[in-house]
Structure formats: structure tokens, C-alpha cells
Amino acid sequence: MKEKIIEILQDLTGSEEVATNLDLNLFDTGLIDSMATVQLLLELQAQCGVDVPVSEFERSEWETPNKIIAKVESLKA
């Protein structure tokens, strides 16, 4: 699951850093904006089978690769 999410993030941001620094703040660095957020949610739905409605998306809970991985794993469980 972890590898899959990192792969999605790499595709989305075009950055290698998301694979090396898992505590990188994706919003502050401008790697992800609202548009990319929606893409992320759709990819997570298609590839990981987790359904996250837009109103459940609280930025502070999704701002780093680590937080995203934790969030997806908790939704999967």
C-alpha cells in the first residue's frame, strides 16, 4: 500500500522528493494544490479502493506522504 501511494504521489507531483522525505509538507511546498488533491482522491479511489468525499478531506490530516499513508491505512482497516 505504501509503495502504491508513493508512486501515486510521484506521478502527481513530478517530484522524487516525496519518496525520500516522507514528512515533506505537500501543500506548503506547492507540490499539491486543490486540483492535485482531487486527482489524488480519485487515484486513491481507483487504485486503493478508499472512498474519501471532498468534505472529509481536512488538509492538516493529509499534508505529508506519511500522513496520507496513515490516513489511507486507517480508512482501509
Partner: protein, 402 residues
């Protein structure tokens, strides 16, 4: 009966200080006195919507009953099924009163609608947000009392900041520890005093002392003059300090009541591009538009694969968002042009960011480019506020009358 508008005069602040004192003491003993909180909320609402404004009070009561009935109806429906058209219809019915209030002056030459009241658009934002979260299944239970507390929370009723239902209810039911509450209290009091500086000194200086003079000179010159440029900056400063001052009062008062209402401004003029500006300016509004309009529209288009190009989708989203924001400010050419201007600015900004990403090696990035970016953003924003101010409209009429 007397009438008092929120945060306008010293008496109002004295009343806040006095009436909130029992709440402060209770919180310091880690207690909540809900009945008292409700009582003073009612008192403050009566103060703002009673007396000579009693017709607004009636409008507010009818509006809230109508909207709560609608929310409850949709909540019950959503528990059983989830048809998209019912959802769209519910949102539409919820905004009908706001549409009437916004359209009436445009049709009847400035005539104010009788169903309008101070802060109707801010309550409508909260309601539409609730309906969308009910649709998403994010709001799982409907509580009448807490919904009323949320919608009619008196510190933010007139002009926001726009809070979110689940966040507000969480604070409302949560008892803070003494230490945490003290932190909040300290911040709240500091914000209110910072608000005094913003609104009653800086905004007073720009808006009340400087602006009339500058406006008069700009009108006398007509057309493009240095006075017009001066007006642009003076108006922008007044707009910021007046609204940021008000927002600080609203947030500060909320904090004292133990509610962490979101901040509205985060040093907006330090933004290095337009996109960043909207993450710092009137944040509770821009985030509302981002979360409830832009992201949902983009999600809908991408999920249903209506448009292929991601750039086109993003740009369409920006245009929709800012056009709606323009119309929401009021149906006049300058509010709509203001919306379009920001949509274009953010589309250009996105294109530049994409270009920069591709040519990272060739484009210099240092202190000077950063300072230039801030300068450019600041001036673009001030120009947009000149459009927003309606002063160009006044100038045109002034010219025709001559």
C-alpha cells in the same frame, strides 16, 4: 428599544466584556454554562436585529425557520436515498432567499429586499456547507439546538468568518482544560485589541481621513491621474484594515467563548503570487469556495471524464469560482469584472508556475525575484480592489453628469 450594530462603538465592547465575564469565570473552573451562553447570544441578536431594525429581525427568524426545516427535510431524505437531483434542488432552494436579496437591488434601482437582513450571505454559506456535508455523509446526526447555535453564533453573524458545522459543534461540546482556555483567552483579548488598532486607528486614518480627500481630487482630475493611483492604495489599505479589524473582533470574541472560529487573514500582502494571496485573504470565504465549489466541480468533471485536459478543468474551475464570487458580492458590473479579473490572474499564475517547474534551471530565484513577486502581486491585488471599490463607476457617472 435600542439598536446596536456589532463592534461599532465602545458601548458594544463594554457589553461584551461585562456579559462574557461569567463565561470566562466558568471556563476557568472548567465548566460550561450553556443556558447563560444562549441567553446572552439571544440578547446580542436582539440588540442588532431589534429596535429600528425589527423588520430585519423578523426576516432573520423566518429565514432560519425555513432553512432549518429544509436541512432537516434533506437530512431525513439522505438517510434513505441519495439522488443527485434532489441534492441540487435542495441547494438551490436553500440559496433562493439570498438570490432574491442580491437580485432585488439590481432590478429595482438599489431598493433593498424586505426578506434581507445583515449577514444573510454568511448564514447561507454555513447552510449550503451543511447540506453538502450531509450529502457526503460527513454529518451523521442532526441536532436542532446545535444547528441553531451554529447558524446564529452572534460573534460572527454579521460578516463571518464562516465556520464549519462539525468544527463548531466539536468546540461547542468540548470542555477545554484551564490551561488551554487561558491560552485561548489571552489570544482572544490580544486579537480584540489588535482589532482596535486596525479598525479604529489605521482604517479610520485611511478610510475616514484620507479617502474622501483623495476621492475628491481624483474626481476633479477625471480619467487616469496620480490621484486615482493614490485612491487605489488608500482604498486597499482601508478595505484590509477595516475587514481584518472586524474579523479580529469576531475571532477574539469567539475565543473568549471557547470557540476557535477560523482566522480570516494571514498577512495577505506578503503573498508572492495570486494563488498564495487567496490562501491568505478572507480565508474563510476563499476556503469555502475552494472546498465547496472548486474542488467539487473539478471532482465531478474528472470523475465523469467530461473534459480531458487537466489545465482546462482547472481553468474552468477558477472561472466558475470567481464568477460566482463576483455575483455574490452584488450584481454590478464592477463586482463581476473583479471576479473575472481574479480568475484570469490565477489562470496566468498557474501557467507561470507550470512554466517555472519546467525551466527550473534557467529561471533565477533569489531574494530580489521574491521581493519583485510580492511587489507585483500586491499591485495586481490593489488594482483589483480599485475595480471592486466601484470608484471607476462613480467616476464614469461623474464624467457624464459634467
Amino acid at each position: 428599544m435600542i439598536n446596536m450594530q456589532p463592534y461599532q462603538n465602545p458601548t458594544y465592547f463594554m457589553l461584551i466584556a461585562l456579559t462574557l465575564l461569567p463565561i470566562v469565570i466558568a471556563n476557568l473552573y472548567e465548566k460550561k454554562i450553556y443556558w447563560y451562553q444562549t441567553l446572552i447570544s439571544f440578547g446580542f441578536l436582539l440588540l442588532s436585529f431589534g429596535g429600528i431594525k425589527w423588520h430585519q429581525g423578523i426576516a432573520l427568524i423566518v429565514y432560519v425557520i425555513f432553512e432549518i426545516f429544509l436541512i432537516k427535510l434533506y437530512f431525513n431524505y439522505r438517510a434513505k436515498s441519495n439522488n443527485s437531483w434532489i441534492f441540487y434542488l435542495t441547494v438551490f432552494v436553500a440559496i433562493i432567499p439570498l438570490i432574491i436579496v442580491k437580485v432585488t437591488p439590481a432590478i429595482y434601482g438599489g431598493q433593498v429586499s424586505i426578506i434581507g437582513f445583515l449577514g444573510i450571505s454568511y448564514i447561507t454559506f454555513k447552510i449550503v456547507g451543511m447540506i453538502m456535508e450531509i450529502r457526503d455523509g460527513a454529518i451523521k446526526e442532526f441536532r436542532l439546538g446545535q444547528t441553531i447555535q451554529f447558524l446564529l453564533f452572534f460573534p460572527t453573524i454579521s460578516s463571518g468568518p464562516i465556520d464549519r458545522y462539525r468544527r463548531f459543534v466539536g468546540d461547542y461540546n468540548n470542555q477545554l482544560s484551564r490551561k488551554k482556555y487561558l491560552d485561548l483567552l489571552e489570544k482572544g483579548v490580544w486579537y480584540i485589541f489588535l482589532g482596535f488598532l486596525y479598525k479604529f486607528f489605521i482604517a479610520y486614518f485611511f478610510g475616514t481621513l484620507l479617502m474622501p480627500q483623495v476621492a475628491q481630487n481624483a474626481l476633479a482630475r477625471g480619467g487616469i491621474s496620480w490621484w486615482l493611483v493614490a485612491y487605489m492604495y488608500v482604498y486597499s489599505m482601508d478595505l484590509f484594515f477595516d475587514f481584518a479589524g472586524y474579523s479580529l473582533f469576531a475571532v477574539g470574541t469567539s475565543y473568549i467563548m471557547g470557540i476557535v472560529t477560523p482566522m480570516n487573514f494571514n498577512r495577505p500582502f506578503a503573498a508572492a503570487n495570486i494563488k498564495e494571496f487567496w490562501n491568505r485573504w478572507h480565508m474563510s470565504l476563499s476556503f469555502w469556495f475552494r472546498d465547496y465549489i472548486y474542488m467539487r466541480l473539478v471532482f465531478f468533471i474528472m470523475k465523469n471524464k467530461l473534459i480531458k485536459s487537466r489545465i482546462t478543468i482547472a481553468n474552468l474551475g477558477y472561472l466558475t469560482l470567481f464568477l460566482i464570487m463576483g455575483f455574490w458580492h452584488g450584481i454590478t458590473w464592477y463586482y463581476i469584472v473583479y471576479g473575472l479579473f481574479h480568475a484570469c490572474a490565477i489562470i496566468v499564475c498557474d501557467a507561470w508556475l507550470r512554466f517555472k517547474k519546467k525551466h527550473r534551471q534557467q529561471i533565477p530565484s533569489n531574494r530580489f525575484t521574491k521581493a519583485f513577486a510580492i511587489f507585483l502581486t500586491f499591485n495586481t491585488v490593489c488594482f483589483s480592489f480599485l475595480i471592486f471599490s466601484g470608484f471607476l463607476n462613480t467616476m464614469m457617472f461623474h464624467h457624464i453628469m459634467k
